[in-house]
Amino acid sequence: MSPTSPDPSLLLDLRGVTQRYGRTTVLHGIDLRVAPGEAVALLGPNGAGKSTAVSVLLGLSRPAEGTVSVCGRTPDHAVAAGCVGAMLQDAGLPDNTKVGQLVSLFAAIYPDPMDPRRALELADAADLWDRGSHELSGGQAQRVRLALALVADPELLILDEPTAAMDPQVRRTFWDALRGQIGGDRGLLFATHHLDEAQAVADRVVVLAGGRIVADGTPAEVAARAGGTLLRVRTEAVAAELAALPGVRTAVDEPDGRAALTCSDSDRALRVLLETYPDAREIEVRPADLEDAFLTMAAEGWSATPATTAPEA
């Protein structure tokens, strides 16, 4: 398929999207796809271009280059038809309204909404129905914004940090309930700082850094490509010395006094480690998870890992 003709069977199809603000290029020809039934986590450090990507796919800003297709349409048409719903990170709520009124309003706006009370319940905000919009704490307002996106119950749901204002216990309940709610052919694209969520919820993880896609695959694939194996060890040697060992990619000192080594060849690293530092103890070896991979990618300056599909230049 040529890069300019979007695939209408995808819920989201960004191809070669470049965006500039003045002279600064914030997106460098990114590709981003969401298929029906797929949950995709969009990860990346602050300033990576996540919000810009969300703006572009909602039609809030027009890309300098590239094509955007949402539910087989232009972003403007998809938004107007109500097949995409979004929670934006920093939108204020209007004053002199009640939470229930706002959620009901959004239910009236969309063609196929869910019950407003159900949306608030999902967002852990069921008790806020009668609350005035100006009486909410920051966390409560965040959860109400989440409910506004959920109530749309669209084909493609975009959530920006949905669980930022939730307790850990509630986060788990939320994701379980959301997966149950949006199953079937609906798609989900979410940004999060909780990598355990991406690991548990996402079918696919896309890592955006410096305006480029640096990794794209299942959580296990991304973890393996960027992380390999994680080796933890207590020793007198500091991380900088351990990083020089063969088979070790990165090494960091951990708060508990141990060092965490990300290894491309953990067997070799372990043999040399035990020879060189006989005091090494409390050794733990496990496959790297997404969080480890993320830290490794950060430590290596977010260059695209070889195994991932390189973004088109």
């Binding site: 938004v79 107007a80 109500g82 939108a91 204020g92 002199n96 063609p111």
Partner: protein, 276 residues
């Protein structure tokens, strides 16, 4: 009598909403919105409910005119009192057009709420139209209550005049709705928008002769007053309460102001939404 007063054209030529025809290759485009007008109506309903809950707006547009009526109503004959009542009703009504729109729209623009709405099938135009409707409702509320004070209080205007105020003043308030929408698009912070609203409210009311009868102005100030829409709104209101004929010239000038301000607001909002 006031049939030549049309609402400002702020709703014309809006961006297409749900009626947009999907392009080719849209296998998934079967989900059509149920009724295209429902979202806008839902938003207008929310705006009206918000207006009723806004104590500051009610204070400015109902309580202050009644208070000033009490303060000023000492002297003069019956016709003077009726003219004063008309001026105060007009003063309240134009305030309704301003306070329901400008500062609130700026606040919602700055807070990102309008941006959130742009990500929904409800176009931001509906938010702006909703504010305009709220302005007209507030103008109607003010005209109704201040008119009721005139009907049943000491001024003793006729029921016809009371109804006349309730019809004419909301139509006249389209001018300040247009001005308020322009203010809402133009300022970077809600505080400056609030300041600009107060300044234009006081300026237009005082110079337009709603506080002091304009024939007591010096000649040069009368020339200024005759350009302002508030002078002509006052003339229309006074003609209604004193049983005179509503001059078509006044209506034409008010309509012209409504068209100009409404057009300017439309341009300002269009420019604003394409940039951001």
């Amino acid at each position: 009598m006031t049939t030549d007063l049309r609402p400002a054209p702020t709703t014309s030529g809006t961006t297409p909403m749900s009626t947009t025809a999907p392009t080719a290759a849209t296998a998934r485009s079967t989900r059509a919105p149920r009724r295209p007008l429902t979202p806008t109506l839902a938003y207008v309903r929310l705006e009206l409910s918000r207006t009723v809950r806004n104590p500051r707006a009610i204070l400015f547009t109902v309580m202050v005119p009644i208070l000033m009526l009490l303060v000023f109503s000492g002297g003069g004959d019956a016709d003077d009192k009726k003219a004063l009542l008309a001026s105060m009703a007009a003063y309240g009504a134009i305030g309704g057009g301003l306070f329901a729109t400008g500062p609130r729209l700026t606040a919602e623009r700055v807070s990102g709420w309008l941006r959130q709405l742009r990500a929904t099938p409800l176009s931001p135009t509906a938010a702006i139209v909703g504010k305009g409707a709220a302005g007209l409702l507030l103008a109607l509320t003010s005209a109704f209550i201040v008119g009721a004070v005139g009907r049943f209080g000491g001024t003793d205007i006729s029921t016809t005049a009371w109804i006349g105020l309730c019809v004419a003043l909301p139509l006249c308030a389209t001018v300040t709705v247009g001005l308020g929408l322009l203010v809402g698009a133009s300022f970077r912070s809600p505080e400056t928008a609030q300041g600009a609203t107060m300044l234009s409210y006081i300026g237009l009311s005082a110079l337009g002769g709603l506080w002091v009868p304009p024939d007591q102005f010096p000649t040069w100030l009368q020339d200024v007053a005759h350009v302002l829409p508030t002078f002509h709104i006052g003339e229309v209101a006074r003609a209604i309460t004193t049983g005179g004929t509503v001059g078509l010239g006044h209506c034409a000038i008010i309509a012209l102001w409504a068209v100009v301000l409404g057009g300017a607001a439309t341009v300002a909002w269009r420019r604003g939404t394409t940039v951001r």
